[in-house]
């Protein structure tokens, strides 16, 4: 992809696991998963996945379609250990990429993304809808992983894809939002 383009990708519902409670960090440690030290930060973990710390005792793990990490971890949570709550998470993931990606946020979000740091989570409203946004660095460029509730996904995709098109960017072909996750590659 050219460094001057914008591209938005739709990955559908990727495998994810939401955990909350005082026992989560300890349990994850036992599973050899290092948790982020700061709240609202994320770190990559094995298998092309990553873990985000959403609050003091709340974590979110997202994998990709090729990895069994999330299903493995979920399997190890039965029965549920003490101090851990399973939080249902059904979000759709988009990826906004390219050197001009911020111009999409300029039209849809009141956050100054020039100040956003890689691996630091941002929660804000994008085009009027609550989103989580994780800036990531790939090949020297900052990309933005975005999550939105499944119910708003069609609207947000339509809106952002429209803006990307107006700005001359590319849209990764859209998939059925309910048909499951797509490969990150």
């Amino acid at each position: 992809m050219s460094r001057t383009t914008i591209q938005i990708n739709h990955f559908g519902v990727l495998p994810r696991l939401g955990l909350k409670g005082p026992g989560v960090a300890r349990w994850l440690g036992v599973q050899s998963i290092t948790t982020p030290s700061d709240i609202l930060s994320a770190v990559p973990i094995a298998g092309d996945a990553w873990i985000a710390r959403l609050a003091a005792v709340e974590y979110l793990i997202e994998g990709n379609t090729d990895s069994d990490l999330v299903s493995d971890l979920r399997g190890r949570l039965s029965p549920l250990p003490s101090g851990i709550l399973l939080i249902p998470r059904c979000d759709v993931t988009f990826l906004l990429a390219g050197s001009n990606a911020r111009s999409v946020f300029a039209q849809t979000c009141g956050i100054d993304f020039r100040l956003a740091q890689p691996q630091r989570l941002v929660f804000s409203r994008v085009a009027g809808v609550s989103c989580g946004i994780l800036p990531e660095v790939t090949n020297g460029l900052i990309n933005y992983r975005m999550w939105v509730e499944l119910s708003y996904a069609a609207y947000l995709w339509e809106t952002l894809a429209g803006i990307v098109t107006e700005l001359g960017g590319m849209i990764h072909p859209q998939t059925d939002t309910c048909s499951g996750p797509h490969s990150l590659s």
Binding site: I87, C90, G110, A127, G128, V129, S151, Y155
Partner: protein
């Protein structure tokens, strides 16, 4: 006739690009770079508009968008300002506010009627006789306003952006450029905006003897990567916390800056004399803009009226352009000659000191001026008529003073003080993070303005936290650049203080005489400063008049409040791209393919009913409901709000949130939950299912659930409880399978035994349904055997498909919200927010059973104790119309009338039901609540209907169907 001058250095027009356009039905040619006003003036057109009230001919006045003389419209857009409207090929423009065109405006008769239209006349007229009201209204609607709305036109969508910077600099003149450069050189991100097409400000049309200044400054500015310049961009409004609206022709930018520096200069002010509004009378700066930017000669023979050196500079510019300058009339009494005045004298131009233009003589064509009558001023500064002298001219250039272009500063909270040496308002007290530089700061000499800009820019950078040395402030000018009172009365009046509003000096005098003696009262009574230019050219003179009438200083008189917007902003810019989020359930695609008629429910889309060919909506709804009663139906209830409440204090938390008991609720049981606010009024209802000792699954209504969740979060903090709340509304979908065959259908795909004994009514189970982990509840909203299946949203479509397949032999069919509403009504189940209002107590709604007053505490308990001690004012009852009723049915919210008094209202109604005749729910006075009571219900203005109060529920009173 062409007034076009030979090429001028720095002109903005491109002579190799001719532009053809139409104005008032005639074709004209201009150049790219021309604005409408300059192009028309170049073509010898004097009359560019008609004034608001008297329809007097008007021409160029400020040529900076500071007046509303030239306002036009095309086929799509209205109220375009000619001074700032670039001409484009193919434009077809007409002046607004005329009856039959500029030339033949039939409303110009209004000027003859002016003696009958004094200030505030509309407060005193048109109130009698009453039978003429409609006529007066029609008259005013036709006469009032400017422009027309073209209802068929669709404006191009205007974008909205967010932007951020360290320092916003408003005004790209010498001070603004200097300030922006100084700040950017120190590392600040700077956004420099100017409402003109090119940066440079007065360097473009006044200080052309210093071309290096403009080019040097621009070169430096463009070389700084952290300095962005936006031309054609106005700072429309300054809002709290340094939020500034920037508007250009393509977008509205919502800028968040850390500091604001205003270098927006000054607005040249008019003098007030007889016929000071006619074409040919213009501000000296307008004449200079005409000559320097657009290469157009303002007139052939000019008189310059001045009270400062700027007027003399304008005289020299006029002479250079080939205009015969008949005289420079200087309001100031004889004083030492400044170098520029000496230069004017050296040109052979007569200078008349201590004199004023008393009158502009209208030309024979009535479309311009033919002469200026000049008088000496007496010791009171008023014209001595005995000294009157007529000087032939077709143009009067006025340069009697300046007012700071301080709207943004004022909006930001700056306080101003009148500097009597400068004879101008100057910033006195700037708020934190707000800075001023240049003329707006009372500094006039070019080099000093540049220095002042630099100083302000560095001061802003220091404010932003940089450790730098800030130079000392540049002192304000000690020479007055404005005249204290350039206002002269005339027996024939037509000496305008406010050109926009056609307000004459006598109007202000009369208003004052009527008792409107403060500037705020005079403004509202006379409308001075309330026109499209918002007082840019009138406020200062109005304040001078009021101050003199009251015998006060200008500081004592004060100014009116500056509010956004600085210049007109189109509605299209304010609307911009609109975001209208909508939500879809996971089964949305299936519904639409099945022919569902979708209806918005808040931000969600839900199936209202499933359309069948050749069947009406009412038939479809009734059929769906009947199928649920007879067989089995399923409905997508994913929009229901769903929360998880977990933690050691979860049960105690729910006990305090809701009116019922939950602390001792068994695991696997489900209960109806009612919530009230602290006043004891019903706010929300749903169910609470206990999944584990410390874990509950709670539902709430689609419409009110999100707000209720926020209240739960707030109360969790207030109660200091160890409870975890999760809003899983969008993460969990829900399907309701209902009807006598529901069990059989679910049993096909459920991996546990769901027999009547194994899974009784009001229980909840974790189970696997169609291979998906689900929370299943036995509920009874529609009054039939019924299961709510809650699954992760991304798995819901598969479960729905499995239910359809499993129910095929049972005749399963989907039903929509309308059928659901009918079914629950038949069962007598109310909907909170529909059958209740914000002042409904549980007692009025017959929900006493859901309230346990013996609990130690719950929200609303105290108020409910008080309500319980008072007689009810109304009760929610069931109503039924006679079987076979054929009359018009009342709609929901229609009133119940008893002996001429309002006795209640209908909350729900259904005409066609599975139980027979029409039924409904209604609030009635308690004395009318007995079953069997007849009720008169208003249908419309003329018709009434009759119903009877009946016991609830209408359907299955023994509750055998759902349990």
């Amino acid at each position: 006739m062409s007034r076009r001058l030979p090429p001028q250095p720095g002109e903005w027009i491109q002579r190799d690009k001719a532009v053809e356009f139409r104005f008032e039905g005639r074709e004209y040619t201009g150049f790219q770079g021309d604005v409408l006003s300059s192009a028309l003036w170049a073509n010898g057109i004097n009359v560019l508009g008609r004034s608001f009230k008297y329809h007097r001919p008007r021409g160029i006045y400020s040529l900076a968008g500071h007046d509303a003389n030239v306002v036009v419209e095309d086929r799509l857009r209205s109220n375009l300002r000619g001074d700032v409207l670039p001409i484009r090929g193919g434009m077809d423009l007409r002046a607004v506010n005329t009856g039959g065109g500029l030339a033949g405006d039939r409303y110009r008769i209004m000027e003859w009627l002016s003696p009958f239209l004094p200030v505030g006349f509309y407060y005193k007229a048109f109130h009698t006789p009453r039978r003429f009201f409609r006529f007066y209204e029609g008259l005013m609607r036709r006469a009032a306003g400017l422009g027309r709305i073209h209802v068929g036109a669709r404006a191009d969508m205007s974008r909205k952006d967010y932007a951020f910077c360290d320092l916003l600099v408003v005004g790209a003149g010498p001070s603004g450029l200097s300030a922006a450069i100084a700040a950017a050189e120190m590392g600040a991100t700077v956004l420099l905006v100017d409402d003109q097409p090119r940066p440079g400000g007065s360097l473009c049309w006044q200080h052309l003897d210093a071309p290096e200044s403009r080019s040097d400054l621009l070169e430096k500015a463009c070389a700084l990567p952290n300095l962005e310049i936006r031309s054609n961009t106005q700072a429309a409004g300054w809002y709290a916390d340094q939020w500034v609206a920037l508007v250009d022709d393509r977008r509205l930018t919502k800028l968040r800056t850390r500091a604001t520096l205003v270098a927006s200069g000054c607005i040249e002010q008019p003098a007030v004399f007889h016929n000071n509004d006619l074409p040919g009378v213009m501000l000296a700066s307008a004449a200079q803009r005409l000559m320097k930017l657009y290469s157009v000669k303002p007139c052939d023979r000019a008189v310059v009226l001045t009270a400062n050196d700027d007027g003399y500079l304008a005289a020299l510019d006029l002479a250079d352009a080939g205009v015969v300058v008949a005289a420079v009339v200087d309001l100031r009494p004889a004083q030492s000659c400044t170098p520029v005045a000496a230069e004017v004298a050296a040109h052979g131009i007569e200078i008349l000191k201590g004199q004023a233009v008393y009158e502009a003589v209208v030309s024979r064509s009535k479309n311009g001026i033919a002469a200026a009558v000049v008088c000496c001023l007496d010791q009171n500064g008023q014209p001595r008529l005995s000294s009157a002298r007529r000087i032939l001219c077709d143009g009067i250039a006025v340069s009697v003073g300046w007012a700071p272009n301080a709207s943004i500063l004022a909006q930001a909270g700056t306080r101003f003080r009148y500097d009597s040496q400068l004879q101008q308002l100057a910033p006195h007290d700037l708020p934190r993070g707000v800075f001023a530089a240049g003329r707006v700061n009372g500094i006039f000499a070019l080099e000093e303005r540049i220095a002042d800009g630099r100083q302000a820019g560095l001061a802003a950078v220091a404010f932003l936290g940089h450790q730098i040395e800030v130079p000392a402030s540049v002192p304000r000018s000690r020479t007055a650049h404005s005249h204290a009172y350039p206002i002269f009365d005339h027996p024939h009046k037509k000496n305008f203080v406010d050109l926009d509003e056609d307000l004459q000096l006598v109007d202000l005098l009369n208003a004052h005489q009527e008792g409107y003696d403060s500037i705020e009262l005079i403004k509202r009574y006379s409308t001075v400063g309330m026109g499209p230019s918002q007082g840019k050219l009138s406020n200062m003179n109005a304040v001078r008049v009021v101050a003199r009438l009251n015998g006060q200083s200008l500081d004592q008189t004060g100014m009116t409040t500056a509010r956004p917007f600085y210049q007109p902003v189109s509605i299209a810019n304010l609307a911009g791209r609109r975001f209208h989020p909508y939500r879809l359930t996971p089964m949305d695609g299936w519904h639409r393919q099945a022919g569902a008629v979708m209806v918005p429910v808040g931000t969600w889309f839900r199936p209202e009913y499933y359309a069948t060919k050749e069947k009406s909506r009412a038939d479809c709804v009734l059929e769906e409901a009947r199928e649920v009663r007879r067989g089995v139906g399923l409905i997508d209830i994913s929009t229901l709000c769903k929360f998880e409440v977990a933690g050691p204090d979860a049960a105690r938390f729910l006990e305090q949130i809701y009116t019922g008991r939950f602390a001792r609720q068994n695991i696997g049981r489900m209960r109806y939950a009612l919530a009230c606010d602290e006043m004891g009024y019903v706010t929300e209802e749903g169910v609470v299912a206990r999944l584990a000792e410390d874990r509950f699954y709670v539902t709430a209504s689609t419409a009110g659930g999100e707000a209720f969740y926020r209240e739960m979060q707030r109360w969790a903090i207030v109660f200091h409880m160890n409870v975890v709340l999760s809003n899983v509304t969008a993460h969990m979908a829900a399907i309701n399978v209902a009807g006598p065959r529901a069990r059989g259908v679910l049993a096909e795909i459920a991996e546990v035994d769901i027999g009547a004994t194994e899974f009784p009514f009001a229980h909840v189970r974790d189970m696997v349904v169609a291979g998906v982990a689900a929370i299943v509840m036995r509920v009874g909203f529609v009054g039939e055997l019924s299961y709510e299946i809650h699954v992760p949203a991304d798995k819901a479509a598969g479960v729905w498909d499995a239910l359809i397949l499993a129910g095929r032999n049972s005749g399963i069919r989907p039903f929509g919200t309308e059928a659901q509403r009918l079914l629950r009504l038949e069962k007598g189940h109310l909907i909170a927010g529909h059958d209740t209002d914000p002042l409904t107590t549980p007692f009025e709604a017959q929900l006493d059973w859901a309230v346990d007053m013996n609990k130690s505490f719950f929200i609303g308990q105290r108020s409910l104790r008080i309500h319980a001690g008072r007689p009810l004012e109304r009760r929610l009852v069931g109503i039924a119309f006679a079987y076979g009723y054929l009359g018009e049915l009342p709609e929901e919210c229609r009133l119940i009338v008893n002996r001429g008094q309002i006795a209640g209202r209908v909350t729900s109604i259904a005409g066609r039901t599975t139980v027979g005749g029409p039924i409904g729910l209604a609030f009635v006075r308690p004395d009318l609540a007995e079953p069997g009571t007849s009720l008169c219900i208003r249908v419309d203005a003329r018709e009434m209907s009759e119903a009877q109060v009946v016991r609830l529920p209408f359907y299955d009173p023994d509750n055998t169907r759902q349990t």
